[in-house]
């Protein structure tokens, strides 16, 4: 095919630019890391703290990411309001937790109380997610793709400011669970109890979800619908019900994530869903959207990267207050993954139809 010189020039400059992009990022990471390791500002306990915190936070991202991934896998739609579903779980759990604390139940039976709080959070998140699905998404299922996305942005605003109106704009402090205070020591490494519990709970939830999707009948139906909706309907699968189940499962995970997040950060606020929501989406993309183990891996990866990043490769480059750029690291990673490996770590190659 005939291509003019200018077009060739443009192609070359684009390739040059993209390679420059990669090289700069790699250089920042490598040089920063080397300088930090030579500098030796942090000791090994601090590095372990970073990693453990990253794992705890990453497993929360992973739990939220599951909701994005499953809904995207089935409807090819970014559920922009999913971060708010997470927030609503944490919020409703807060009220239960403080009621249990006032009655003294939380201190007497902390485990039962925690399970109770999680169940309430799951129920609240699921209820709200189903309401949003029914009102804002279901009528738009046949519409062009931009339409449900805008509707989801609207739902996200609606939920945020509804919570602000109902419960006020302030920050609520979560009650202290005595059981989760302090540290445990494994092989000479001190780890905060809350982070261990959060990680274990998240992993258990994910295993449960994975079992549901891979081993049960409804899970099989979900996989079928995400492959091909029309064919699945012909096979006698009630597509509407599968979609509702997907939303419900994703929301239940987000509800648990809300409680775990509140256990680590000890506060809730109407706006708390936004940033974790976007990061969870990043995790989903990182792992390959539509892929459940990918979402888990992506979440952990993002959590660790984000927690290590500022100290590992930004600080030694002379950047003041690198922790302010923690979110920038996450977003840069999102952009890089989308540019250079849009199918994610574990993702299948996206066809034009799915992308």
């Amino acid at each position: 095919m005939y291509t003019s010189l200018t077009e060739k020039l443009i192609d070359w400059s684009i390739a040059l630019y993209l390679w420059g992009f990669r090289i700069i990022v790699v250089l920042i990471v490598v040089i920063g890391t080397v300088l930090t390791l030579i500098g030796g500002k942090y000791n090994s306990q601090q590095w372990i703290d970073f990693v453990v915190f990253g794992i705890a936070q990453g497993s929360i991202y992973a739990l939220i990411a599951l909701g994005y991934t499953m809904v995207y896998g089935i409807l090819r739609m970014i559920n922009f309001a999913h971060g708010e579903i997470f927030m609503s779980g944490a919020f409703s759990a807060y009220f239960v937790a403080s009621a249990l604390e006032q009655s003294g139940f939380l201190d007497q039976n902390p485990l039962v109380a925690l399970v109770l709080i999680m169940l309430v959070a799951m129920a609240a998140s699921t209820g709200i997610a189903l309401l949003v699905e029914r009102v804002a998404y279901r009528p738009l299922r046949q519409a062009p793709r931009l339409v449900p996305l805008i509707s989801a942005i609207g739902a996200s605003f609606f939920l945020q400011y509804t919570f602000r109106g109902l419960f006020g704009p302030g920050v609520y402090a979560y009650p202290v669970v005595e059981l989760l205070q302090g540290e445990w020591t494994f092989f000479g490494i001190n780890i905060l109890k809350a982070q261990v519990v959060v990680t274990i709970a998240a992993v258990l939830m994910m295993l449960g979800l994975y079992t549901i999707v891979m081993r049960t009948k409804i899970g099989k139906a979900m996989r079928a619908v995400s492959e091909d909706k029309a064919t699945a309907a012909l096979m006698g699968i009630n597509v509407d019900r599968v979609i509702v189940t997907t939303f419900a499962l994703g929301a239940a995970m987000a509800g648990v994530a809300g409680v775990l997040y509140a256990l680590v950060f000890r506060q809730v606020n109407f706006f708390m869903g936004f940033v974790p929501g976007i990061k969870a989406f990043t995790s989903a993309v990182l792992g390959g959207v539509g892929n459940i183990p990918g979402a888990m891996l992506g979440g952990l990866f993002l959590g660790i990267f984000e927690s290590l990043g500022p100290a590992l490769f930004l600080e030694s480059l002379g950047i003041v207050a690198p922790y302010q750029l923690k979110d920038a690291i996450a977003f840069t990673m999102l952009v890089l993954v989308l540019i250079f490996r849009p199918s994610g770590i574990l993702g299948e190659k996206l066809t034009a139809k799915k992308a």
């Binding site: 077009e7 443009i10 192609d11 684009i14 630019y17 993209l18 992009f21 090819r76 739609m77 970014i78 009220f95 804002a136 279901r138 009528p139 738009l140 046949q142 519409a143 062009p144 793709r145 931009l146 339409v147 449900p148 996305l149 805008i150 509707s151 942005i153 609207g154 739902a155 996200s156 605003f157 609606f158 939920l159 945020q160 400011y161 509804t162 602000r164 109106g165 109902l166 419960f167 006020g168 976007i278 989406f281 990043t282 993309v285 950047i319 003041v320 207050a321 690198p322 302010q324 750029l325 920038a328 977003f331 840069t332 999102l334 952009v335 989308l338 540019i339 849009p342 034009a352 992308a355």
Partner: protein, 569 residues
């Protein structure tokens, strides 16, 4: 359960319950209290009360209309009363529960003040009042349902007229009071210090109702007379209208005062950005959720180049700095556009959202603070001068914004009708086919990003001049979402739609600053409602209207039960 559903009263119960939940929501979210502070008619009715009344009336009306067709007047009345009563009944329940349990520990708005407002000051003893009031509203709505159509329409028009006049009473009063003499007299007659006077409300009711009635009768003849005019005269008429519009636009800030002029400048800035995004998203179909990046880059460039404060580097005039800002925004468009060229659809939205957030985080960081001011921003940006005239306040910058918007709208129209515009639309419809037709995807897409960025950059430059200082927190994601939303609400790909959308989504919330708390709540509801009812936007372009219309018919053919799952009675 199914037995129950067959009863005619089932619909009334359902509508009543939904209405009641909406009422509870309005109360608990705090709207009654906040909206109750502004009166529609002074000391007669407040906006909060109007909201509650409208919900009750709406429930009654819907229930009555459903019962209307096959049955008699009595059923209509009963349906209305049942629905209205249930709607109010839930509020009664709220008052009763609230007087026993301290709901305020959870719902911050469940205060004694709310209960007093719901029971007209009677407190817990008056818990029956919402129930009876709701039933009465339902009855009124049902009676209204039985009126002839023409009468119904004039009543509705009259009430809408009163409501609008009451909502805008503050602004109208200020405008009228600015000139002494008959204008101030009229202002005093129509408007009280808060809301309308009773006489004013009556006047507006009669005026709006009557005029609407007259117009509906004579509309056809007027139209016909215009079409029967000879071509030359019709042309003169059109030019005369255009001239009138231009004069109105030119003298507007002098009539309206500084506040409204400022609102219009903001609308203009967002219209500029909207027109920019209209190229990237509306024409080329490239979803950009990080549009604020271009706005920020240009605003910061102008700020740095012109500022006389500590971060200023050149102390240029605005006129020299603005083109540089626009140019840099354009280059940024290319730089952000290049890596994401291969990304499609929703992924593109998220990637660009990432860009926008990165820019915001960087300008706000302590790392770049020595150069960009960190979270303290850039201060002391001088105003633009034209000769010896300083564009000091919003009333003068208004002209800059209007000029910019007109210029950009003109460019956008010319672009749309150009070869490039057609190439963009081809890409939007189908990338692969467009490429097969010989369109260079890389160049065409890049141009869309660059031009979109340039338009947003102009918006940023004017913003810097308007505000006089720039802070990173005004560069947040909400700006990008606002631009996308105004484009969608106005109508994608449609240039007049952008202007309409900017007025609806930027202008209206700015005018109702006192309800700022609920701005994004109402915004969210508006976005969802818009997508459900009119996804093509308020002023859609012809092509999109056609496309969505065929989609709708497809949907009803293939999936008849999807929109209403209510079994017929």
């Amino acid at each position: 359960m199914n037995e129950l559903r067959r009863l005619p009263v089932w619909h009334s119960v359902r509508i009543g319950l939904i209405g009641g939940v909406i009422m509870l929501y309005i109360c608990l979210v705090g709207m009654v209290e906040v909206f109750g502070r502004s009166d529609i008619i002074e000391r007669v009715i407040s906006l909060g009360q109007v909201l509650l009344l409208l919900t009750g009336l709406g429930a009654g009306y819907l229930a009555a209309r459903r019962a209307g067709e096959p049955t008699n007047a009595l059923t209509v009345l009963i349906s209305g009363v049942v629905a209205g009563g249930l709607t109010g009944g839930l509020l009664t329940g709220l008052v009763v529960i609230g007087s026993v349990v301290n709901l305020r520990a959870v719902f911050i708005n469940a205060s004694p003040a709310l209960y007093n407002a719901l029971t007209l000051g009677a407190g817990p003893n008056g818990a029956w009042i919402p129930l009876v009031g709701g039933a009465a509203l339902g009855l009124v709505a049902a009676l209204f349902c039985l009126l002839p159509r023409r009468v119904r329409q004039s009543i509705v028009n009259g009430l809408v007229g009163v409501l609008l006049a009451g909502l805008f009473s503050g602004l109208l009063r200020v405008i009228l009071a600015a000139r002494p003499g008959w204008s101030a007299e009229l202002g005093r007659f129509l408007f009280a210090s808060e809301g309308l006077t009773l006489a004013g409300a009556l006047l507006f009711f009669i005026l709006a109702g009557g005029l609407a009635l007259l117009w509906s009768q004579s509309q056809a003849t007027v139209r016909e007379r215009i079409t029967r005019l000879p071509e030359a005269q019709r042309k003169t008429l059109r030019w005369a209208m255009l001239g009138l519009a231009v004069i109105l636009i030119l003298i507007f800030p002098q009539i309206s005062g500084a506040f409204i002029a400022q609102v219009i400048v903001l609308v203009g800035i967002f219209a500029l950005m909207g027109l920019g995004l209209n190229i990237t998203l509306g024409m080329a179909g490239l979803f950009d959720l990080g549009f604020v990046a271009f706005f920020a880059i240009s605003a910061y460039t102008v700020g740095l180049l012109t500022s006389t404060g500590e971060h200023g580097i050149a102390q240029w005039s605005w006129w020299a700095a603005a083109p540089v800002g626009v140019l840099l925004a354009m280059i940024a468009g290319a730089f952000f556009g290049l890596p994401v060229l291969g990304i499609r659809g929703d992924y593109l939205a998220i990637a660009t959202l990432g860009f926008g957030e990165i820019v915001r985080l960087l300008v706000g960081s302590d790392f770049l603070r020595p150069w960009l001011g960190g979270s303290f921003g850039i201060l002391a940006i001088p105003k633009p001068w034209i000769g010896n005239l300083e564009l000091a306040g919003p009333q003068q910058i208004y002209y800059l914004a209007v000029f910019g918007a007109v210029l950009v709208a003109f460019v956008a129209v010319r672009l749309r009708d150009s070869r490039l515009g057609r190439a963009w639309m081809a890409i939007r419809e189908d990338e692969d086919v467009a490429e097969a037709l010989g369109i260079n995807l890389v160049q065409t897409k890049l141009l869309a990003y660059m031009l979109g960025g340039a338009f947003a950059g102009l918006g940023g430059a004017i913003f810097a001049a308007l505000v006089g200082s720039i802070f990173p927190h005004s560069m947040n994601l909400l700006v990008s979402v606002n631009v996308v939303a105004l484009l969608i609400v106005g109508g994608m790909g449609s240039i007049p739609g952008v202007i309409v959308g900017a007025f609806a989504l930027i202008g209206l919330p700015e005018l109702f600053r006192e309800f700022d708390e609920y701005r994004y709540l109402l915004y969210g509801i508006a976005l969802i409602a818009m997508m459900l009812a009119k996804p093509e936007g308020l002023w859609p372009s012809a092509a999109i209207r056609r496309e969505l219309h065929t989609d709708e018919t497809d949907e009803t053919e293939t999936n008849p039960g999807s929109s209403s799952t209510v079994p017929a009675s």
